[in-house]
Assembly symmetry: C2
Homo-oligomer: 142 residues x 2
DNA sequence: CTTACTGTTATTATATTGATTACAGTTAGA
DNA sequence: TCTAACTGTAATCAATATAATAACAGTAAG
């Protein structure tokens, strides 16, 4: 799993939480605990898909541009981490005589595709609002 | 996802496919396309759980010691890749004042645990036999 | 007692990931 | 119009994770 997924979810939750629904990359980076440039990279993806708006120049930053009740983690997964279930390394070798060696890569590919579908279904059940709610519950339970 | 999962599944399928249900680490490594030492490492895990038996010395190798109809990919996942859904990198910082920063790591942790459960459920639907069947189908479709 | 195996650890090479730097472009406000 | 505070983006460096390889002890068949 790509950790840009985590950054995207965290950033949207933070924007949804803030009263003005706005924050600079410095503020987000500090909250998330990473480098502002990394945040800007992830936010650029979110901006291109319309989840946030970016304002350059003084007083600028990122503004939430979606409904946290409707945006699911599945969308964030697709945006940031699609394909990450399948390992980079593949077994087998198309050139061999053995039926197993020849076809295992393709079969594992199918299996990993199915696994990713399952994962996306699961993430589809979580909205940004749900994440915020969980954060609140976690806070209260202290 | 850990690619040792792939090696474990491929190796069991290969053993199940071979008439004598036996192969050396060299043979498996060649079939899988990796180094024999890596195969031995994975097979040692399978042996400790009783999925295969190992015979040392001349004429030795690994022998299938389980029913391919019953062993599922979920077991292979647990054995080789448990925890791999959650990225190594975590956002947030317990020390901060912000409710989001403080609790996001815990919440994401819950979310990734749920995701892994989903994945394991899915892998539980696949047996080694199913993998072999898929390989056969793939071969026929050429 | 030699040869062909497994078991295991250590080391090295490679790939992936994240941090950091750098700088161009933008905009508000003095 | 100039400056300061932003984003956008690419390039580079550092850290980490992954896979390959080497090495060698232990074991068993012939």
């Amino acid at each position: 799993m790509n950790s840009e997924f985590t950054i995207a979810v965290h950033s949207l939750a933070l924007l949804a939480y803030r009263p003005d629904h706005m924050a600079t990359s410095d503020m987000i980076a500090h909250n998330v605990c990473t480098h502002p440039a990394r945040v800007r990279k992830v936010m650029a993806m979110l901006r291109k898909q319309g989840y946030v708006a970016a304002k350059e120049g003084i007083g600028g930053g990122f503004l939430l541009n979606c409904n946290p009740d409707e945006v699911t983690l599945a969308e964030m997964y697709r945006l940031t981490s699609m394909g990450s279930v399948k390992p980079g390394w593949c077994s087998g070798d198309e050139e061999q005589d053995c039926m197993i060696a020849c076809n295992m890569a393709t079969v594992m590919d199918h299996i990993f595709s199915g696994a990713e579908k399952q994962l996306i279904d699961y993430f589809g059940q979580w909205t940004i609002r749900d994440v915020l709610e969980q954060v609140r519950k976690e806070q209260q339970s202290k």
